[in-house]
């Protein structure tokens, strides 16, 4: 049973808002946030977790489910697993971090088994642990989070961070959107686990992921990295939301007239699909799957079949139209820069985990979807939770600290011009969805998009504060706008093609650019190059 003294304390609430006192506040309740909350509570911290939606159903994992980078601790297998995606990632991974994540994922997955996750058993009696069903996994994580004594605030989007006089992060506040009032959590450390930013593209489960944590962190001066690697597009039926791409490995892709799209494939040929979609509709049929594979597909990922079963399409026999939906930093690798092994960000008191943090350390510049992201979410979540709990012990008593709100855009009354979130969302999407801007990049097109996005930022910075009914949408769309600007500024800075970042004007990988691109800022966006650990050593040795 949780020790009641370890529960976060609800303190006197000013009119119209509820206030909690905690050691650690976790923002976001997907896998990263729940692992962070459980791990911080196990260190003795009083923890509050606030989620925009419902902790257990919200976020990319709950809706989609994930393959997991779970590798038995056999040195040869581990070596092969690390080497596997190094080339695709443009050699930007870090072996030490890969090793840590593989160890930690192995341990955490085994804990899930102890907690009762129903892992399947194969024909030889071995429990198979490299896949997690989303709803099942996140229902279990919610239960464990509660059992750890964490106070969960559902339907409570965070809007802004609180800082103390020294600029250290000391809590956050947000809306309770089903109660129409505000919440405030005064905490000694904060973990940002708000997931990535998928720009409201309706990729599965991701419309809650608008980059809110990035915006909040940027307002206290946090840095980002690898934001140029944020343009993965996922295949789905043209009409639907189920962007699960694994099974398209068994698909043939064709034009309207039935002829094959040359080079098109889910893996290693997705750009051919994008180019064909620029010309007209593209169709898929999973005609390479034999009866056994079809059976495994059905039992393994039932939601993949909902769009087909409910429209009378037999995806193995019928051709159906497909599209590519942008997944931004959800299956990209950019995010908050991690400065040490505890997943601290560059700002005191602020930690980052999951898709809110960079995954460059284990993925480099290629997508972490398919296995790495899930491994990163549980590993970085646990490290960030522990790191935040330890930091909170060092901070000492919170009493007497004066805190101020760090939120700026959509909070300041600047003019009589109203903040128009719906229009802003469409304006950002018009710059980030088109394949010719974001999939296939080129300097003048990027500069054109950036010019329009920067103008939009000046515009919203001068707009009036959003009212209670619009504030969540206003902050979400401002976060999308900021994310798009870090993404394209970083894309301009990387004058080569590497990982998922492709430049029409620099189509080759350039060995002199084996570095990371750091970025940050809101009114003025800056970028700078940071050496990759190994590349740095190599140069020093030359």
């Amino acid at each position: 049973m949780p020790n009641p003294s370890h529960r976060a304390e609800r303190v006197s609430a000013p009119e119209g808002s509820v206030v909690f006192e905690a050691d650690v506040l976790v923002i976001g309740g997907g896998p990263a946030g729940t692992w962070a909350a459980v791990s911080a509570a196990e260190r003795g911290a009083r923890v509050v977790l606030a989620d925009k939606g419902f902790c257990g159903t919200s976020g990319a994992t709950a809706a989609a489910g994930t393959g997991v980078w779970y590798i038995d601790p056999d040195p040869a297998l581990r070596e092969a697993a690390m080497a596997n995606r190094e080339k695709m990632g443009g050699y930007l991974q870090d072996r030490r971090w890969m090793t840590r994540v593989l160890d930690s994922t192995y341990q955490h997955s085994n804990r899930l088994a102890d907690w009762g996750y129903p892992y399947p058993v194969d024909g030889r009696g071995k429990s198979q642990r490299n896949s997690l069903q989303g709803p099942e996994y996140m229902r279990l994580m919610r239960k464990r989070t509660k059992q750890a004594g964490v106070t969960i605030l559902d339907h409570s989007p965070a809007l802004e961070l609180l800082v103390d006089d020294d600029g250290a992060v000391a809590g956050a506040s947000g809306m309770r959107r089903q109660k129409q009032d505000r919440w405030t959590v005064r905490a000694k450390a904060v973990v940002i686990a708000t997931g990535g930013c998928a720009f409201l593209s309706k990729t599965l489960g991701s419309n809650v992921l608008t980059g809110d944590g990035y915006l909040m962190a940027a307002e206290v001066g946090a840095e980002f990295t690898s934001m140029e690697f944020s343009n993965p597009y996922a295949i789905s039926p043209a009409f639907g939301s189920v962007t699960k791409t694994l099974f398209y490995g068994w698909a043939s892709f064709s034009y309207d007239d039935g002829s094959v799209v040359p080079g098109a494939a889910s893996k290693g040929g997705r750009s051919a699909i994008a180019r064909a979609l620029l010309e007209g509709p593209v169709y898929a049929r999973l005609d390479k799957a034999d009866d056994d594979v079809r059976h495994h597909m059905r039992v393994s990922q039932p939601n993949f079949f909902l769009p087909f079963d409910r429209t009378g399409i037999d995806p193995f026999k019928d051709r159906f139209p497909v599209t590519l939906r942008l997944e931004g930093t959800v299956r990209g690798t950019g995010g908050l820069r991690i400065v040490d092994d505890s997943c601290a960000s560059s700002v005191p008191g602020l930690y980052a985990a999951g898709d809110a943090a960079t995954r460059e350390l284990i993925c480099g510049g290629f997508t972490g979807g398919g296995s790495h992201n899930a491994a990163w979410a549980m590993s970085s979540g646990a490290w960030a939770g522990q790191g935040a709990a330890d930091y909170a012990t060092q901070v000492g008593p919170a009493a007497g600290r004066t805190l101020s709100s760090a939120g700026a855009v959509a909070f300041r009354s600047r003019s009589r011009r109203a903040f128009a979130p719906a229009a802003l969302a469409r304006a950002v999407q018009a710059e980030v969805f088109p394949y010719e801007l974001n999939y296939f990049r080129e300097a003048s097109r990027l500069q054109g998009a950036l010019g329009r996005l920067d103008a939009a930022w000046r515009d919203v910075s001068e707009a009036d504060a959003a009212d209670t009914s619009e504030i969540v949408r206003a902050r979400e769309t401002a976060a999308m706008l900021a994310t798009a600007r870090w993404m394209y500024r970083s894309a301009l800075a990387r004058q080569e093609s590497r990982g998922m970042h492709r430049r029409d004007d620099f189509s080759e990988q350039d060995s002199r650019q084996r570095h990371y691109v750091t970025t940050g800022g809101l009114d003025e966006i800056w970028t700078s190059a940071r050496p990759h650990a190994e590349a740095g050593y190599a140069e020093a040795a030359e």
């Binding site: 419902f54 709950a62 339907h155 309706k202 599965l204 419309n207 639907g240 393994s300």
Partner: protein, 106 residues
Amino acid sequence: MIEVIDGERCTSCDICVNVCPTNVFDKTDGIPVIARQGDCQTCFLCELYCPEDALYVSPFADQAQPIDLVALKQTDSMGSYRRAVGWTDETSDRRGVDRSYLLFGH
């Protein structure tokens, strides 16, 4: 997008109001209402949590689809996702049959 709540099956337990990640439903004195259909992200999770199979999410993500509830109830669509993942008493043996490990690496 979410299209219907079947008033005959719904027991007004409000679970869907709680679990919908994008806050599409509103509580009422009786059956919840679909208050913000345009915010629905077509994740099908309300269907999984509804104990009465009273909800139907159409697979069309970008536009609303007219639904004939009487005809729909004659198909096995309502509750089909919940049965498929093993979240009903009759199908709970399906919870541990994930065969993804046979499909990865293709």
